[in-house]
Symmetry: C4
Subunit: 219 residues, 4 copies
């Protein structure tokens, strides 16, 4: 922790979560990106770097309108995350306190095991960790939770249109999977976003292990 900032400041939390997510395999090979809103400022990780080595001063800061407030020392030669337009689009449309983009294998595998455009989850307790974004409250474990899958595009900003459509079609979702790529997830706070990411990863992995054991559906 850098004592120059409060313990829960994005300049402390983001580097800590990047180390956690590198170590658990969600941010391999510079993949993935985190953003947290703090007051009116949105803190975003830099692009193309070893995520586990990110320092507090390496973050870019923007308004939710996409205006730059500050950035890392130019001597570091860092570039803003290519996910920035996707993050800002989610902040504008859904109003969360944090948006994470992770390259977790479980989200990629869930999208590749599904022919359609939705991952379905049901009859698992951890579903209760998933918030119904628009109608409010959390899911029951018996709900049929649907996570939309959108097609990948060659650049991150190309994802925006697909994400807008997915958010319209599934207004209660707090996550969108990009096929063969990873997951975008959001919550009211960074803590809720962290919890929801852990819940999805757990749920997708249960689904995958059942498939490997020859079971197609959870009753």
């Amino acid at each position: 922790m850098n004592p120059d900032y409060p313990e829960d400041h994005p300049r402390n939390i983001i580097p800590e979560l990047c180390r956690l997510y590198y170590n658990n395999g969600w941010m391999p090979g510079s993949g993935g990106s985190l953003s947290i809103k703090y007051g009116e400022e949105i803190y975003i990780t830099p692009s193309g770097v070893q995520k586990e080595r990110i320092q507090p001063e390496d973050l870019f800061v923007q308004t939710s309108e996409g205006e730059d407030i500050s950035g890392p020392p130019s001597s570091k030669g860092l570039r803003k995350s290519q996910c920035s337009p996707v993050f800002l689009n989610i902040y504008r449309l859904k109003g969360p306190g944090a948006v994470f983009h992770l390259h977790s294998k479980s989200s990629v595998l869930a999208s590749l095991l599904t022919d359609g455009n939705t991952v379905h989850l049901s009859n698992l307790q951890m579903i209760k960790g998933i918030r119904k974004w628009t109608t409010g409250g959390n899911h029951k474990f018996t709900d049929d939770v649907q996570i939309p899958i959108i097609d990948n595009t060659h650049t991150e900003d190309g994802l925006v249109d697909g994400m807008v459509k997915a958010m319209n079609d599934y207004p209660d979702t707090c996550a969108i999977i990009v096929r063969g790529h990873g997951i975008y997830a959001w919550g009211q706070t960074w803590q809720q976003t962290k919890l929801v990411c852990e819940s999805y990863d757990y749920l997708f992995d249960i689904m995958l292990q059942l498939r490997a054991a020859g079971i197609q559906e959870i009753r």
Copy 2:
């Protein structure tokens, strides 16, 4: 370790085990809950929080009759674990020194791979780590160890009836699986409870990996 308490006090042991169980995937996304009896006091984790960040002062303390002895500073806004009635029911009926509730994937998968209401384990050495709660002593590795599975309910306290029935039907068990949800396990001490949780997780995972390799039964 907080030096204000003895090394083996629940205020030291519970936060340490929560970090361990978060890191090994048994307490993802705020899931799971731990309780340890210390003298006549039962220490219980708070609800809905990041388990790996629990501090010694965050625990709730109750009598085995369910009366509140103390709780965390109210400024923290913590709620008692929803598992408390389930824990207290087990303390009353079985008299253990600790009861743990874990969302381990292995226990969830074991319940989903089983059509009936019992997971059977046999011909594995780690079965010897499982105590026969009522008749006493530990199992032989050749025993047919049966772990009852009960159906999940929408609230944790709804589990009590199913658990009472399972404890009656399987008086020697020291664990009950909740389908699609997780495991409750107990032991005479927190150390024995920790060991039995590790043994079950290991045994369930062996069973799962054999299934994935196409083997249905251990001879």
Copy 3:
């Protein structure tokens, strides 16, 4: 490290390896046991305890004839590993510098996936880490390495007869698997024993993952 002993003294190395092997899943739920020969003394872990918490003073010390030299403070109430007769038998017959007994899932699964009494490994580079104990030198990667499997018994000392026969039938082996139970492995030093355990675990796991992907044999 306890500075009262040299860095490579068994009282430093054994607790360190126990923590490593607890964390990688080879010593779950108090399972497994380690022994290292240091001069004429054989240091052995205690029985039935959390292996990751073993302290330097917790070890039992014996001669290779099985006479007790020293033990942990009696106030700790520790018991010598039940593996001691098995360890001593291997020290007498094979003359190694260390013998480890591990409950690694990979060794248990390898024994359960095999109908016969031998695990066969071939065409994998890590085979070169396996020493031919009697004829000397290490295996070529194209060798058909055979690791004998013996049946489990209700007590550890019941394993001795099966192990003597396996050592006679497979004089070059430096490991024996106990079906559904775990592995005993030895080397000329603790370092070699550590390396050979890692090599077997890696090789068995490759075999298991291939099986899960539908491949029965490595060409």
Copy 4:
């Protein structure tokens, strides 16, 4: 970190990466080897030792022509990595800033699941982390990335001929898999080499998990 050297000196980076790669299973049982070019000096790990215990002074230093510049203290009795001729051959032909050789299970399994002499990867975002070595730039996620597989040989220097042919046949590749053995990968810097190794491991593991779930090809 050893403060006698700059933070990014190979004598600091190589021991740090060896610990990382031991812990994630890429350098089990003394397997694997790392090399980094620093100015005109190439730093190489010693052979046959526990990689997680390598110290800054344990490295061998050579010119790219293979002349010895310096080595570890002779009292340590260390031998140069047997991979040295393979490393030097890659430095001469491809001009990278670092070459890593890893025994990652994912690379071994990828080679064993493939009948032909190439692993194909496509439709996965992490492909964008792979550089086209000769034609420049990084792959698109829709590219058909081909990683050549060569046959294993009894000594590491026997691999050179196969690797020269593979580099000629696949001029854009920055990695070669040795069947049943592991991977050689390179990048313009040690950071790029680390990232590319993480990308391949992730991609191969996705492929393997899909196979285990019954899916042969990614659409």
